[in-house]
């Protein structure tokens, strides 16, 4: 196994250079450059459909760009063989938007799943690790529940316990706040912060909730039209006055992101002769 991610000393963990991706004729990333600092909580924000989740998938190697470089800890992800990619993924935690717990197994087995797949640890040790992680997310008592018996917030916390079971150097959170009630939201926020502070895990989160992001993120990237349009810490970004940040953080309906989906001439579509109204 190669060196663990955390042993590297330079302070950029994910480096994206000139990433260009075209999906179904639509340009998702247009020569995107991005540096995610190590040991921090970084938020990636942007209007829906700008490819924030797609970016996470590029980092984990689930998708490959058409051009450009995505390197995690110095390894260029698109060049990795399947084996090395899997080895890299063992060191990355990924929290899915809908938790993606395996419905065949109960909570305990879900958290134990990566351990059982990749290690030959004795049962006692697996049990200890799993219970520690469940305790960390406050669900040790729910170990024997099935995923269908969990609420959305609980499922997400179980998924989080599963994501950190290997003590990864990097966790990717895909929309961790969607559909949570305020209590669950705060619990998840607290967990993200705790994991970052106590274990030093680098966190990348994709989110829309400005208040939550401001609460937790050290650094924010705002992505639109396939490029980074603004970056900085949450507080300065909200006040930097560019049209992008104004529209996004101010929640205005129209701006650089148009209200209208690109369409032909309205008058023509309605059948008025002579075109434009």
């Amino acid at each position: 196994m190669t060196d663990p991610v955390s042993s590297r000393s330079d302070d950029t963990i994910v480096r994206v250079r000139g990433l260009t991706t075209v999906l179904n004729g639509k340009t998702i990333f247009d020569s995107l450059d991005l540096d995610i600092p190590r040991g921090k909580i970084t938020a990636i924000m942007g209007p829906s459909g700008t490819g924030k989740t797609t970016l996470l998938k590029h980092i984990t190697g689930q998708m490959r760009g058409d051009r450009g470089e995505v390197s995690v800890d110095g390894q260029n992800v698109p060049d990795l063989s399947r084996e090395n990619l899997f080895r890299l993924r063992e060191r990355i935690g990924y929290l899915f938007q809908n938790s993606a717990l395996l419905t065949d197994f109960d909570v305990f087995e879900n958290v134990a799943f990566p351990l059982r797949q990749h290690t030959k640890l004795p049962e006692v040790l697996i049990r200890n690790i799993v219970l520690t992680k469940l305790q960390a997310v406050g669900l040790r008592g729910a170990a024997r529940l099935m995923p269908t018996e969990l609420s959305g917030g609980m499922a997400r916390r179980v998924a989080l316990a599963r994501a950190i079971v290997f003590d990864p150097a990097l966790i990717l959170y895909d929309e961790p706040f969607v559909g949570l009630d305020p209590i669950a939201l705060n619990q998840v926020l607290k967990l993200i912060r705790t994991l970052n502070k106590t274990l030093g895990i680098t966190s990348i989160l994709v989110a829309h909730e400005l208040a939550a992001v401001q609460h937790v993120a050290d650094h924010v990237f705002l992505i639109a039209n396939g490029k980074v349009v603004a970056q900085g810490d949450a507080a300065t970004l909200a006040n930097d006055g560019s049209p992008w940040t104004r529209q996004f953080f101010g929640g205005e309906a129209d701006g650089p992101v148009p209200f209208q989906y690109p369409a032909g001439d309205y008058g023509t579509a309605l059948g008025f002769p002579g075109g434009s109204l």
Partner: protein, 256 residues
């Protein structure tokens, strides 16, 4: 997707068959890796095989009984009712056993494989496995594929045994064919190689490969929506049924 809709049914079917063939290659390549998940395969054999036993045994019994009844009726025209056992056994071993079992299997186990994998796709469980560095082809698809190939011949054999029992029940117990005649005529004519190995086993294994492949493929390529899962399940039954009957003809013409 919508652009593809416009193409003819033939082109679309060909594209499906081609994609399915490529998927088979991926699946075969993943089988050595799936041996680490032997337990998962065992669990799937339980789900697709043992859980289908009831329906297979019930249907086998009734098919055998109906055959016994019909053949007794027809053969009595020629005064050949003593051949009832022979014809029941041969009809079941060569055709009805493997074909009906495969059709039942497609309806009972094939659909559940498709729906299960489809739902795993729709709820990101397959992606989650990828992210946990577990190959879903090796962990999810291959064990189900292998389980189908193991389970279907076993089910087919059980179906045949029940069918012969049903034929015996009707022919001997109810219609009064002599028990000794029933068995001696059967054992004189039925051949292990031609009827059991080439009939039940070979056909069942071939059907097992085809049905499991279709079920796994449909599940794996399901569009991640609830509608997609529903369509994929239907397609599994339709495609499997056509494939079973067409393949049956091809196999029969080679084996006979």
């Amino acid at each position: 997707m919508s652009a593809r809709m416009d193409r003819g049914v033939v082109t679309q079917s060909l594209a499906q068959i081609g994609a399915c063939g490529l998927f088979l290659l991926t699946l075969l390549a993943a089988i050595p890796r799936s041996f680490r998940y032997g337990r998962e395969t065992v669990r799937q054999i339980w789900f697709v095989g043992a859980m289908s036993l009831t329906i297979v045994m019930t249907c086998g019994l009734f098919v055998g009984m109906v055959l016994g009844l019909q053949l007794y009726d027809v053969l009595s025209i020629f005064g050949g009712t003593s051949a009832t056992g022979t014809v029941v056994a041969i009809a079941i071993y060569r055709e009805l056993g493997p074909v009906v079992t495969a059709l039942l299997f497609a309806g009972r186990a094939g659909t559940s494989i498709t729906a299960e994998i489809g739902l795993m796709r729709a709820t990101d469980q397959l992606d989650a496995m990828e992210m946990m560095a577990v190959d879903p082809i090796a962990y999810v698809a291959a064990p189900r594929f292998l389980a189908g190939i193991v389970a279907l011949p076993l089910l087919g054999v059980v179906f045949c045994a029940m069918g012969v029992f049903g034929g015996h029940l009707v022919g001997v117990t109810w219609l009064g064919i002599d028990n000794g005649t029933f068995w001696s005529n059967m054992t004189a004519t039925v051949d292990v190689h031609k009827d059991i190995i080439n009939g039940v086993l070979l056909k069942s294994i071939a059907f097992g490969i085809v049905v499991s492949l279709i079920a796994v493929y449909q599940g794996y390529t399901t569009p991640p929506t609830s509608e997609g899962v529903a369509y994929a399940t239907t397609r599994t039954v339709v495609a499997s049924s056509i494939a079973i009957l067409a393949l049956d003809f091809v196999l029969t013409s080679f084996l006979i």
